[in-house]
Amino acid sequence: MLIEQLHYETTPRYNFPLLKDIDLPRRFIELSVESMKDVKGEVLNVHGEIFQDSLVNGDYEDSIYIGDPESPIRVIQVRPIRDDTPIIAIDASNIKIGETDRGILCAVRGAVIWNRKRRYRYIRIGPFPFYINAENRDEILHLLRKHHIPASNSSSLTEIQIKLGSLIENWIQINVCRSSNRSIILIDGSLTANRNSDSLNMYMQMLRSAREKENSILAFSKMTKLRVLGRRVLNLHLKYRPPWILTIDDFQPFNLHLLGDIYIAKFTERGYSFRVDIDHTLPDEEKIRAVKRLLGNDSVFQSYPESLRLAHIYSTFTANEVIGIQRFISQQFGIKIISQHNFRRSLFGPYGTEMDD
């Protein structure tokens, strides 16, 4: 019966050109609801879960080192171009809500921040709760692969949770790329895929859509383990005054397909340097120009674009949201919740007797 209620209305929107086309994969929502029905009558253990951060897809993290002294290094100083280019940032997060004897309950949510002339607007998509267990994992894996999220049959439940986050994220990315024009699109992560993998397809599709609409995609890695000259990228300081970007020519790592050129960027004196991947097929001047336009049209805080920071903040779950989701589940699907945390026990009622005096 819940499926029927899913025809959510298209309420008046804040002039997001990109939202007209937002239409979640029906199967995704159905799976969410169906999996939740599965949880009925179970006992959900929730203690300790809510303080955990969103899990990150770390698939390609370790593999890239730049540091061959022979490689020619170029540092390009970038001057901001202020031309009112819209900046659009996308992020998604996932969180574990609790676990039962049979599986884990998690939730995923995506966020888009749209910065036009430095006025920020957001749209949040979700949260979508999922109950992942042995019975439905194959079906979820199938859904993931169908949307080009690489998922092996041996994936753990936690890996599946992360991939559900990637699914909604990638799917929002593609939608945004298709529906925006001449914008800078910021995504969290890299443009790197395993050769011959599903994700390669997915990235190619996204970049193609972006190019068709003259959008430029910049992918920012926050937690990169990329090393340049033997040092972590995050701590790289050069004698040049920011903003600058650094690139290493002729770099092609083993067994990875780079859909983007890798740059190291440092936009402000304070803060870290980041890895930025820019669509490989763009002419070099275009790549640099995209960075310049980003700097000219978005705020930068501690060397990180504000839009992307907001997208991260808006998608991340706070502790009270987790409690709210637990309440939603307990009310809508009649699950019992057990917690060692008094507050939540009080919220969800009669599963404990002792009181602390």
Partner: protein, 505 residues
């Protein structure tokens, strides 16, 4: 449907309860925690309402407050999870004080047991049910006003009998108004009330606000010292005169002894009068210093206009009291008296009262004293709570400066009627009252709207109750004196006229 309130925590006699949006609770209201398994119920009072410390709300608020502008946006939330999140964010924590336990339909003062979290249900306890449980309104009711559920609220006049009361609150909140309700309520039940009326605001209690006679018309007796209230020296008696000289006029001991001799001298010759007193001092053979001292006091008495040699002009307190045999108020209008004259009159009143009471010549009285620090000498405060109470003077102090009431009065007060206070220092002082729970007072009194009052003590059997004091259809008058008062003349006319009419009864 609103989700039921839930027990969260108990520390000492404080209980914390979680309530959800839509629950109609406010500071001061009572809740009952019914624990079926133990057959007991706990009565608690909400003294503070806070946001429940839902984890992560801080991040939530920070997320939604960016300096540049409020970021607008929307949620695509087909499952409507967001409404649940908002519901959680709006959960409230009710800080409650335990006031007692109901067992077998009786209230006992046990706060040590723990209601079960799982098997108790929490609901609002209407003040009406509480009143019924406590049997507060039986006996001789005085209607004070209504509770926030619009049920009438009365106290039992018997709960004021023999008691010491304080009415306090910041300026203009309705203290004198409540005091008038108490005065009229007491005389309704046949009591004698004396009001030391500093501002002359009780003088028209016998008239409606339209100026017509009301049912108290013959029961309110206004006495204005120096005008319709004068006494002779012989009625006053040596002991009371000596009190006036020592306390109001600070006559030193040696001079007092000399005065006593003069008094005896005149008394023996049946020559006790103001005139003869003056002559006697002039001709008395004594130290010049003493003579000067006596003279200056003599003139103070003379100029007070309170004393007279004319027996027809004078009245006795016994006469005054006889008018209140079936209940009545004696209003001593001090509004036109100088500070010195006020002290003389108050010394007289209290001295005489003690005399009459100790001789069993009058019944016990209820004394209402407005801003008593302006005329009550230091040593009387202790007297009032000890000796005078024993004789039958039951005092109510009314003030907007709580620090002017001596600390031991607070400690001994049986009933405290509190109006709004915001000043931290004032709240501190009130908290010294024995009947007062500091946290309750500090938290509730600060938010009281005008004309609302928190009642503590005997009259509410120590269950603090907030009421809205009822209006009163009497002429108030007597407010801050203005220089340009158009109807000054009318006002004075009606006072004397009122007295004349009352005197004829």
């Amino acid at each position: 449907m609103i989700e039921a309130m839930k027990l969260y925590k108990k520390t000492g006699n404080t209980i914390q309860i979680i309530s959800f949006p839509g629950e109609d609770v406010s500071k001061g209201c009572y809740l009952i925690i019914e624990d079926e398994s133990s057959g007991k119920s706990m009565i608690v009072q909400v003294i503070d309402i806070q946001f429940a410390n839902v984890p992560g709300v801080m991040e939530e608020l920070l997320r939604n407050s960016f300096p540049e502008e409020n970021i607008k946006g929307e949620d695509v939330d087909p499952l409507d999870v967001t409404s649940h999140i908002l519901y959680i964010q709006d959960a409230r924590l009710l800080i409650c004080k335990i006031h007692g336990t109901i067992k077998d339909g009786k209230i006992i003062s046990d706060s040590s047991w723990l209601p079960s979290r799982t098997r108790s249900s929490i609901r609002r306890l209407s003040v009406k049910s509480l009143i019924d449980l406590l049997e507060i309104n039986g006996g001789l009711p005085i209607l004070l006003g209504e509770t926030d559920e619009s049920t009438e609220f009365s106290i039992n006049a018997m709960a004021l009998d023999g008691k010491l009361n304080i009415i306090t609150g910041k300026k203009g909140t309705g203290k004198s108004h409540l005091s008038k309700i108490l005065v009229l309520g007491l005389i309704d039940h046949g009591a004698t009330v004396i009001v030391l009326d500093l501002n002359g605001e009780y003088t028209h209690l016998n008239l409606t606000s339209e100026g017509d006679k009301n049912r108290y018309y013959r029961r309110i007796h206004v006495f204005t010292p120096g005008s319709n209230f004068k006494v002779t020296l012989s009625q006053t008696g040596l002991s009371v005169i000596l009190k006036i000289l020592t306390h109001a006029l600070s006559l030193p001991g040696t001079s007092c002894r000399e005065f006593r001799r003069i008094w005896k001298f005149l008394e023996e010759r049946r020559l006790l009068s103001l005139h003869e007193l003056g002559e006697a001092i002039r001709n008395w053979r004594c130290n010049q210093h003493i003579k000067d001292a006596l003279y200056s006091r003599y003139y103070a008495l003379l100029h007070s206009n309170f004393f007279t040699d004319n027996e027809y002009e004078a009245i006795t307190l016994e006469d005054v009291f006889s008018k209140t045999k079936y209940g009545g108020a004696i209003i001593i209008d001090l509004s036109n008296s100088s500070p010195l004259d006020r002290q003389i009159v108050v010394e007289y009143m209290l001295g005489k009262l003690q005399d009459l009471l100790s001789l069993n010549k009058i019944r016990p009285v209820f004394l209402f004293a407005e801003e008593a620090h302006l005329y009550l000498r230091d040593t009387y405060w202790d007297d009032i709570v000890t000796r005078m109470r024993h004789f039958g003077v039951f005092t109510t102090f009314i003030t907007n400066q709580p620090n002017t009431i001596k600390e031991n009065i607070y400690r001994q007060a049986d009933n405290v009627f509190l109006f709004n206070f915001i000043n931290e220092h004032d709240l501190q002082i009130i908290s010294k009252a024995a009947r007062v729970d500091v946290e309750t007072v500090v938290s509730i009194v600060r938010d009281l709207p005008p004309h609302h009052c928190l009642i503590l003590g005997n009259v509410v059997k120590d269950f603090p109750i907030v009421i809205k004091v009822r209006p009163l259809n009497v002429q108030t008058g007597g407010h801050t004196k203005l220089f340009f008062t158009v109807n000054q003349r009318d006002y004075q006319l009606s006072t004397s006229e009122a007295y004349r009419l009352a005197g004829e009864s």
